[in-house]
Symmetry: C3
């Protein structure tokens, strides 16, 4: 039966762990023609470096191939509302796009960032859910309102470094960035860290920078089930104290959704949230990571990025291995 | 000897039927390394979803590969006039482009929509004829002033549904669309439906929306040879009556070529040309199809698109199979 | 040990000759799975036709594959300065880009044209040197301030036509072009022609169009070592006289770097530098070549381009063969 990978919330921890375990095997032995003659479509509504490259090369190492589609750039703009009279920009409907691509290829992967104008619409994840609804082949999320492939790479890297993650102390810290970025990787961080049994702290400047309840509630529930702690804090020093892992990400304020100029004035007050050596010294010699791309000396200092504790490159490499494992999981007969 | 696929007018019905027959074999058995180590170049002067994806994946299933080139975007703008002093935008001449690509790859496929400013220039099909003139490898038309790959997919789908097409009653209907689109698929529809022995009706709002004589005359000649009828009508009800097939397409008015604003006022009067259930009820339980992309509830209603009689997805799927068959036909030793 | 191909100055003539010799073998026998399962990344900061196509198809013929990355278009803008506070456009640093790509692929090829605003910065070749510094896989230059892959293709074509190049008389002539182009191929021409033992003449309208000392000095030194002549001239007739090879290229004036409008007035006086039959008649029945793209009847006349002495297409074809040989040289165990 067709299975989609749209959010890790729809997969059990055991299922995810078996994808991670097979990723380790593929990392040790990269060239295996497990998906010979399979073709997948990678649909990018937004830019990509790691994702595009790791999926394309990963498929090639598995004996298959990947084609790239960029709607609105090299392909037609697409309508996602059902029943719409299509008299605006979109030249075709997701119904046709998803059904036709399902005839050509074996799997569709989609990157569609939140538009950051209406939180309800973003939470609905309309674009990838449109593909899910109309496609007859499996769908992979390459980052929408969450980034589940990054979650897998993040956990694999932490397990490689620390072994069992149960009861490790995990910090997700907001960092400064000149623009209001989407919350996908932050949402993902809370969900997956809590799911894998860690004590999770969310550090952000004020209540304006809390993530959406949907993800906080899910993380709290995971922590409850795992008998771990979930903490929200605005105190930098207390939050870093005694941590085993520091994961950094910048995101825009949800109460100021759609008002980037107003929000800019607020966020510009919190440049001090940069991850630096002083803060890392409060931790339990913590590992540091970030999903990349990262602005050096804005989100984290050169010293932190270049330290032995930084595993951002390892996490980026693992994107390829977990995605290959995931592709095999979804496409094997 | 090198053979090109620029228009089906240069191929006999029997030759086309043998491409269609082999397409059915490839549809039943997709993975066949018939073009192992062959490389083709796909040159896009305009956007594409189905064409790009189906050619790339199709070549891969045949054991070969396809590279994408987008002149003016990721490659240099090209000059097509011979003898020109090249002091404008173009950085290189079709002579060099076609000759060099012929050294790298085994076949060149070209998408170059009419510019819709000068009908004579568009009819000349200067871009693809430039490739034909200077390339030493076969050329495939991926849509210019006609769309012969779509023709093959259209006929294969109709044959799959109806068997022999001789004497079937075929309607090509103009539909509304907010912009003046090119006439390629409409031209192709008349040519191929008449060539395969159907009675062909062209329905459009007024004489302003007649297709160019070149294609109407060719369709009339085909009908004469096949002892079938060719009819032009502006009466919706009479045109739909007793039809076995309804093919829909929007196109701009030729007398208003190069004057989109003037034409817009006229076309906006004919929104009623949308294909809906009421009109389909006049037919002989006709199949409905469209080349896609299609604006739902503008060109055809949701009810028509989602009905069992709609074969647009089947036609889109068949693009891949007919193109693979065509590639094999042109590249086999 | 990892080796990079950033400039031919870092390779001996014997090493280059062995790449050329193996290129001839690959030209005779194109399909050889020497790089099976290898993947390379092609990074384009600028447009490309020949380079992109020849690398992609070349890798495919060797059994490997190539992925295309266009930073700032389909990927994030990149910072190349070390220690920078990244508060401008760049979303990530070359350190991360190069390290991550090194984890995914076996080799990175980079096209990054000079920005033509600051000669010192252009000469430093900061972008490709950034990749060299941070990548752990080999780097290939696909054109920066020099174009070493073009050099190889140029020399292979001349050797195919003339055999040993020792003491041949070689002219690099500036030509008119409406825009100020970069000096890469011109710099490369001087370096490689002198390295392979030819008498080299550089013809340009005035001292304003001399190439940068760095490349002139290197060419002079090569000529000294080879006991050949290096000549700078502004006299068209004398320069063409007795030449065996005429290589044409347009480039912008270095003293007017960053002032395109001022320079335009000067360059527009020298349209007569076009390569035409009259000038070619001064030569020793010379071969003519150009790296392409070329504006016909601006840089060279139709008559010259279409003559039997023009080997520009041959040189373009050889791009693929020398690059395949180079890839094998850098990636073989």
């Amino acid at each position: 039966m067709k299975r989609n990978f749209i959010t890790t919330s729809e997969w059990s921890k055991n299922e995810l762990q078996s994808i991670l375990d097979f990723a380790s095997e593929l990392k040790a032995n990269r060239i295996q023609p497990l998906l010979k003659n399979k073709s997948i479509a990678l649909i990018f509504f937004n830019p990509s470096l790691r994702t595009k490259t790791s999926f394309q090369i990963g498929m090639n190492q598995l004996g298959g191939n990947a084609v790239i589609i960029s709607p609105g750039q090299d392909a037609w703009p697409i309508e996602f509302d059902v029943g719409k009279i299509m008299n605006e920009e979109a030249e075709e409907h997701i119904a046709e796009v998803a059904k036709v691509l399902s005839k050509y290829c074996d799997l569709i992967a989609v990157r569609a960032f939140p538009k950051f104008q209406n939180i309800k619409e973003d939470i609905e994840d309309k674009i990838i859910r449109g593909f899910e609804k109309f496609a007859s082949v499996p769908i992979i999320n390459m980052e929408t309102i969450t980034h589940p492939c990054q979650e897998l790479a993040h956990i694999l890297s932490l397990q490689e470094q620390l072994g069992d993650l149960k009861n490790k102390n995990y910090l997700l810290t907001w960092t400064y960035h000149p623009k209001a970025l989407n919350t996908a990787v932050a949402n993902s961080s809370l969900i997956i860290a809590s799911k894998f049994g860690m004590n999770v702290t969310l550090l952000c400047p004020t209540e304006d920078y809390l993530l959406h309840d949907k993800y906080i509630d899910e993380a709290k529930l995971n922590c409850q089930e795992n008998n771990t702690n979930f903490t929200i804090s605005h105190d930098i020093k207390k939050s870093y104290a005694n941590k085993d892992i520091v994961y950094a990400k910048s995101w825009g304020s949800i109460p100021f959704y759609g008002e980037p100029n107003k929000e800019k004035k607020i966020r510009d007050q919190y440049k001090n949230f940069i991850v630096d050596e002083r803060k890392m010294n409060f931790t339990n010699n913590a590992l540091f990571s970030h999903c990349l791309p990262l602005r050096r000396n804005i989100k984290a200092t050169d010293a932190v990025m270049d330290s032995d504790n930084c595993i951002a490159i390892q996490e980026a490499e693992n994107r390829m291995h977990v995605q290959k494992s995931l592709l095999f999981n979804l496409l094997k007969e």
